[in-house]
């Protein structure tokens, strides 16, 4: 665990407003949430690969995320990692989700090169080494796209007095967006790091970023990781 004095950091130049709205970044009340950086979504042999999508798109944000993760640890933010996956008996897998995944060539629970697809305990389900969790960090296992649904994420955030959330992860338009929307609904002040995320389609990635900025920042704000790192003095 890092030694740190209680320090706050200046707001960053984000779109469509300087983030956060209340003017300073306070690590004591800020959580970094890394969403689904799993083998299944960004490494060969997993779920996304099996469906035939370009892994370069979902991997693109890994290196900047690793830098942000290091910085967040140094300044003492709460760090949370999420994993999408199902119980080995698939009892928490809605039948329509299973059916669609089979139709797309990557049936959840079926055996692939990285073990059973999107199943807890399997290799494909693990978080990739580049952004692996360490002791003292929190892991949220979720059955859906949103990290709040059927999890204890909100309880953990409340217990830690978190008011602000910084997001990285994949995919931008699916799990990251759903989680950001749900966090925003609950009153969390959210920032999505534009170079720490990616989608299965580049156009959808761009649109997903733009969507956040509409109507004065309908879900929060967006910024490149460099802006955050500068503010944190990293």
């Amino acid at each position: 665990m890092s030694n740190h004095t209680v320090t706050t950091y200046p707001a960053i130049d984000a779109e469509p407003y300087s983030w956060p709205y209340d003017g300073t970044i306070d690590p004591a009340h800020t959580a970094l949430i890394n969403i689904d950086w799993q083998v299944d979504f960004c490494a060969p042999g997993g779920y996304v690969d099996a469906m035939g999508y370009d892994l370069n798109l979902t991997r693109a944000g890994l290196e900047p995320t690793a830098r942000v993760l290091a910085a967040a640890r140094e300044v003492g933010m709460m760090v949370i990692h999420t994993r999408e996956g199902h119980r080995p008996d698939l009892s928490d897998l809605p039948p329509n989700k299973k059916w669609r995944s089979a139709r797309a060539g990557a049936e959840i629970g079926s055996l692939g090169p990285c073990g059973r697809i999107l199943t807890r305990g399997e290799i494909g389900w693990e978080i990739v080494q580049e952004v692996a969790p360490i002791d003292g960090e929190y892991i949220i296992d979720k059955p859906g796209k949103g990290a709040f649904y059927a999890t204890d994420l909100d309880l953990l955030l409340r217990n830690h007095g978190i008011t602000h959330i910084i997001l990285t992860g994949i995919t931008t338009d699916v799990c990251v967006h759903t989680t950001m929307r749900d966090a925003n609904d609950r009153g969390y002040e959210c920032l999505l790091l534009t170079d720490c995320t990616g989608a299965t389609d580049y156009g959808n990635y761009q649109a997903a970023l733009k969507m956040v900025t509409m109507q004065g920042g309908v879900f929060g704000a967006i910024a490149p990781s460099e802006s955050l790192l500068s503010s944190l003095g990293k």
Binding site: P95, A104, V174, T178, R181, D182, T200, A207
Partner: protein, 214 residues
Amino acid sequence: MTQHSAGTRGGFAVVAGSRPYPWPWDGRIDPTSLALLVIQAPGSAPRASGPIDTIGALADLVERTGGTVIEVITHPPFRRESRRASESGESSALTVVAAAAALVHSPGWNGFFDSTLDIELRRRGVTHLLLSGYWLEIGVHSTMRAGNDMGYECLLIEDAVAAADPELTPASLSSVEMSGGIFGAIATSAMVADAILIASSSHPLAVSTEKSRS
């Protein structure tokens, strides 16, 4: 002619032309297990009347074939010190539906968040959702995502929704279709209406004015 065996509900009708797969996943529309969600945002309404008229016609059909219509009023989330002017508590619903079964309010953009939407659906045995309303990329998307996570089989009605920013419409639709239909499927209201009519004509309790087609 669609067949149905004794003891099953609904015809073996699917929405021809839905994408990326023939909706619903289980190949059977039961009009009485269907709900049309008319999602709305306070303070403004789509300028174009097209989606509103379409919603009205579809709502009539869903209601008369034994389905449920629910108006869902979404809101910008509350902020103690707002970064933008907070919306007033009052909001007028579109009221395109003469007799919606229920009207629910959510304090956020997701119609299921902290609202009675799920219980209203469960009480009525609803398993399949038709998504309509505005704004497509805001409340409609948030609501569809949440419904999908819960296991509802969702269909976005593309001519019954309006985007706050029309430039975001293609991506808003594409995101639904990727990965085999990650949130469900998409179809037009005409495709859906056809399927409902076929399904309801073979429903044991159906009262339909259309003859079933072979």
